[in-house]
Subunit: 331 residues, 2 copies
DNA sequence: TTGTATGCGTTATCAA
DNA sequence: TTGATAACGCATACAA
């Protein structure tokens, strides 16, 4: 790869002038032309390592998510990518697996790599930014908030979504509605189950039963096990609000295994799976604007990178209840 | 962030010695101890920009895929990530959207960023490595081969998979089996449809009808449209082999729209969707070992990065026919 | 074994 | 407007 020295030699100017052309500062027209000519002849493009070293920050954004195989997060990633790339930044996708150690590793990486900023879903409420913590580093939290430092955040209306999902089950005629939510130390879990609780309270002749509330792990098997436990109760629920998409899959699996259909058992799932639509599960789905979340997060981050010093901002995006799908495909 | 100079000062050694400790060369035990002490006290970690600039290559691997929202590729990514990270490399996920321009942009990025290597799924048979083309650059192709330069490749047994899928439809009693495959200029598409063709030939009283072969785009809508076109034929097929997962979704959608069930219309899909299993589509699915593909690709790449100069290698992994799923969930 | 000094390819400072 | 030159933080050739 050519360097600016070779370009300079060819254009018969100094390396400094080449750099100025590259960065768009005061250079006379004829020299600009000569330099551009030389650049294209040599097929030169600036070495990003050297540039980053000198500038003290790179054009890379780290996106730390807990599960790359969860479609919700890949859609978020897509949203981030679209916005970031348009601004000349590239995105490194980092999979924390929901573990604090992995998360710390990637935050470390972001720091020692002088990355431009970090967009992350903190693994738990105990997550901290570690060495990436610094006033002039750009950070945006997605879906959940970290403890410790105040940062920009992009959230969904978790409480309202939990409320709406539960209510839709009541509207469908179910009365004993249980709730399967995520880990108790994750803010998102708690808010969603609070929504469920409130919807139960709002129901005239019903009080929320605490043994109808189950904490699981936001994963398929956890959701399945939780439903199984609910069936073991004296008075089993006749419907369930599930607080994320993957646990929803587990619930549907368990129902299948028991030979129960969604026409007889109410299921409302918070969070879509792409390609869900064609399968006609009969579940009510509360759609989260994943891609939009990513886009907004990227926008906030870019503003911080550009030097914005306003106090931390929080954007709350809205979920949307999709009608329960008809069972069309299968017989 | 601390530098090796600060560490050196604190440990009362020279910067060079600190560097040697970092890179594991000859340093006396006591100095090693002092340096390590200083490193941990200062919470030092080496600046990767500087290191990469000096070493002339970074610890980053680019993974270029055509669709981040296709679960097949996220599983591949997961496999790559696991292996790469264990070796101290991080992975940048790049979305080419199947477009040559995007692909070229990312290859350029990889070059100007001195990335350690590239694992990619070429957008089409016309794809080239561009400026990343260089004898000492590590490259592994996944799923398809690029034109031009010979590189290591990790493929699946496309032809055999297409054959097996088609055959399973015959075994289920269908006789007029069509094929919906991907773009004609993508090697994978062609091989899969060849498998279909051969299976048809092998069938005693049947010749492959060329109007039963449709080229689409590996996307949901394309699959749907192709099936629609097949239905418009004089003698419409009674079963279809679909050459990738997303087009499979499209096919199932179209069937749904027409009120046709998979008990009356045979569907075999090459490529799984995670969480397909719980939905009971009635389709036969040919599972591709996505995660393993990623892992093997990463292993090959790491060997190249380490300096292996053997001629290009090709690893072929095997697909697996899963039994058609029963229709359990819905009524 | 250890230290000094140089360069990796940029950008920014300072003079001209 | 331009050019020479000094960093950025590290790894290594060479000297000691």
């Amino acid at each position: 790869m050519a360097t600016i020295y070779e370009v300079a030699a060819r254009a018969e100017v100094s390396p400094a002038t080449v750099s100025r052309v590259l960065n768009g500062t005061n250079v006379s027209e004829d020299k600009v032309a000569r330099v551009k000519q030389a650049i294209s002849e040599l097929d030169f493009s600036p070495n990003r390592m050297a540039r980053s070293l000198r500038r003290q920050h790179s054009q890379i954004i780290a996106l730390i998510i807990p599960d790359i195989e969860n479609p919700f997060f890949t859609s978020v990633a897509r949203g981030v990518e679209d916005v970031a790339q348009a601004a000349g930044y590239s995105v490194v996708l980092c999979n924390s697996d929901g573990e604090l150690s992995q998360e710390a590793y990637y935050l470390d990486l972001a720091a020692s790599d002088n990355m431009a900023g970090v967009i992350w879903t903190p693994a738990s409420a105990a997550s901290t930014l570690g060495r990436f913590h610094s006033p002039d580093r750009a950070v945006v939290a997605i879906d959940r908030r970290p403890s410790g430092r105040e940062t920009d955040a992009v959230l969904v209306d978790n409480h309202r979504a939990g409320f709406a999902a539960t209510q839709s089950l009541f509207n469908q005629g179910y009365s004993r509605v249980a709730c399967i939510t995520g880990p108790a130390d994750v803010e998102t879990s708690v808010l969603r189950s609070e929504g469920w609780r409130e919807a139960c309270r709002a129901h005239p002749d019903l009080q929320p039963r605490e043994d109808y509330l189950r904490y699981a792990d936001f994963r398929v098997d956890g959701g399945r096990a939780a439903l199984s436990a609910l069936f073991a109760l004296d008075l089993a629920p006749d419907a369930v609000f599930v607080a994320n998409n993957l646990m929803g899959v587990g619930v549907l699996q368990e129902l299948t295994a028991r030979g129960i259909t969604t026409s007889h058992y109410g299921v409302a799932i918070l969070g879509d799976l792409p390609y869900f639509s064609f399968t006609a599960t009969g579940a009510t789905v509360i759609d989260l604007p994943a891609r939009e979340i990513g886009g907004v997060a990227a926008r906030l981050l870019l503003e911080r990178i550009a030097g914005l010093t306003d106090p931390p901002r929080t954007e709350v995006l809205h979920s949307r209840v999709l009608p329960a799908q008809a069972n069309v495909i299968s017989r």
